[in-house]
């Protein structure tokens, strides 16, 4: 009889513990999502323990990928060669046009005295060692941390375009929030010169591989195929990094705005190596040259002659 009573008491206290833990977790979820609760120490401790295992497994998987991709490339070499030849022909034609546009651009810049807007980036190369399996959020882990100069909020890119930003820099690894994550938002602009419409790119929970450009006015000049780049507003992402191109346009539920569904410039399925931008600054301006003068009317013929020699 007494055993039965004790058993019932035990079961009752366990049920209460279960209810308490469940409610506590429920509260943590909501406080954490609103940014009012964080667990940086335990999170970094877990990353510290896990990252050697992840690095080892990731090394094996990279070797495996290297072997399989080599075999595939050898098998498709002939077809690839044909495709690349035709692409080279197309790119040559585009290159001629681009050179023409660049020289025109330089002349026009010189005419209006426009400030040089190119940026130089200091980057740290990193390898992707971990990735989430479900897609309610999209995060990756890279093998560089504060020891390599990585800090929170640094932008992460590949040569193809924007990947995301560092949200938690650990000692030897860092967590990167991809632009596919629903919590991520990036200030962007349409690259086309006639458009220059701004919007915010956010991850979409419905289709985790294609983020959305939101807040576009309904009558704005955005069309399918437009290239979207970062606008530099917000201070985290430098201006001009390619985010993706508009794959389709949809009407917003409110009816006043439209949404651009983006095809990302970076292939997130094959993300192996990334670069973290640790510093970005404007490129130093070109040295000042004396303006060319009409022969015979030089104000300082000596300086003019020296300038031409240079």
């Amino acid at each position: 009889m007494s055993n039965r009573v004790r058993k019932d008491k035990d079961a009752g206290s366990k049920a209460w513990i279960m209810v308490f833990v469940t409610i506590s977790l429920f509260c943590i979820i909501f406080f954490a999502a609103r940014g009012r609760f964080q667990a940086p120490v335990s999170s970094q401790a877990v990353s510290l323990v896990l990252s050697p295992f992840q690095q080892a497994v990731s090394w094996v998987s990279n070797e495996f990928r290297f072997v399989t991709s080599n075999i595939w490339e050898i098998a498709t070499l002939h077809e690839q060669n044909k495709m690349l030849r035709s692409e080279v022909e197309q790119l040559r034609a585009i290159n001629v046009q681009a050179n023409e546009a660049m020289s025109e651009n330089e002349r026009l810049r010189a005419m209006v005295g426009y400030k040089q807007s190119a940026h130089q980036f200091d980057t740290v190369a990193a390898r992707v060692i971990g990735r989430e399996s479900d897609t309610w959020s999209s995060m990756i882990v890279i093998d560089r941390g504060t020891g390599s100069g990585i800090q929170n909020d640094m932008p992460v890119v590949t040569p193809a375009g924007l990947v995301g930003r560092v949200v938690e820099a650990g000692l030897n690894s860092s967590k990167v929030q991809l632009i596919l994550d629903p919590r991520s938002s990036v200030g962007t602009i349409v690259q086309r010169a006639e458009s220059r419409v701004t919007g915010i790119v956010r991850g979409d929970v419905s289709n985790p591989t294609m983020p959305q450009m939101v807040n576009i006015p309904k009558n704005a000049d955005v069309v399918e195929g437009d290239v979207i780049v970062t606008s530099g507003f917000g201070g985290i992402f430098p201006k001009g990094i390619v985010v993706g191109l508009v794959s389709s346009l949809q009407n917003d539920a409110g009816g006043l705005l439209k949404i651009g569904v983006l095809e990302t410039a970076v292939d997130f399925q094959k993300l192996e190596d990334v670069m973290v931008i640790t510093a970005s600054r404007e490129a130093p301006p070109e040295p000042i040259q004396p303006p060319p003068q009409t022969p015979g009317t030089e104000t300082d013929p000596k300086a003019q002659a020296e300038g031409q020699k240079k």
Binding site: L25, I29, L50, F53, Q54, P182, F268
Partner: protein, 166 residues
């Protein structure tokens, strides 16, 4: 090495495989969720309390290691570990059919609880395309990997029990 440390190493290695090797064969970013499969198997083998504890541990590991929504997986895994454990008393431990197929129901339940939490957090999404992009590939992966994970967990548990009795 004590049994708890062995289980910790097992969980960490399985998680490293899940996050560092299996994304190679992911479909639209979805790859198998070994932590959920492990929780299901462990709960079927050890009952509700230990199932809930394993669920909490694996869920919290997922939340802390990757920086997703903190507490979300710990919450769902804890609940599902407990519920699977409740069924454990009615199933023979050598029976592989139920734990393997229960992992499908557990994956679906996990998905719907997480979807509900996302809605409560204010995220809106199209449920039809979401099921198509997330749940269906996930169920396929889970079905393919449920047996190997359950087999490993079963053997690990058997070894631990013989050591405990000796």
């Amino acid at each position: 090495m004590s049994n708890i440390i062995k289980w910790i190493v097992f969980v960490v290695v399985l998680y490293a495989l899940q996050t560092s090797f299996f994304p190679l064969m992911s479909y639209h970013g979805i790859s198998p969720d070994f932590m959920l499969l492990l929780t299901t198997s462990y709960a079927f083998l050890r009952g509700p309390e230990q199932g809930a504890m394993m669920g909490f541990a694996t869920g919290m590991l997922k939340d802390l290691a990757m920086g997703s929504f903190l507490g979300m997986h710990a919450f769902t895994h804890l609940l599902l570990g407990y519920l699977c454990g409740r069924l454990a008393n009615r199933v023979f431990k050598e029976q592989f059919f139920l734990p393997v197929f229960a992992s499908l129901a557990v994956t679906a339940a996990n998905y719907f609880i997480l979807a509900l939490l996302m809605v409560l957090l204010g995220y809106r999404f199209n449920p039809v395309s979401n099921v198509q992009y997330m749940l269906l590939p996930m169920l396929t992966y889970q079905l393919a990997f449920a047996y190997p994970v359950h087999y490993l967990t079963y053997n690990m548990d058997k070894k631990m029990r013989t050591q405990e009795t000796n």
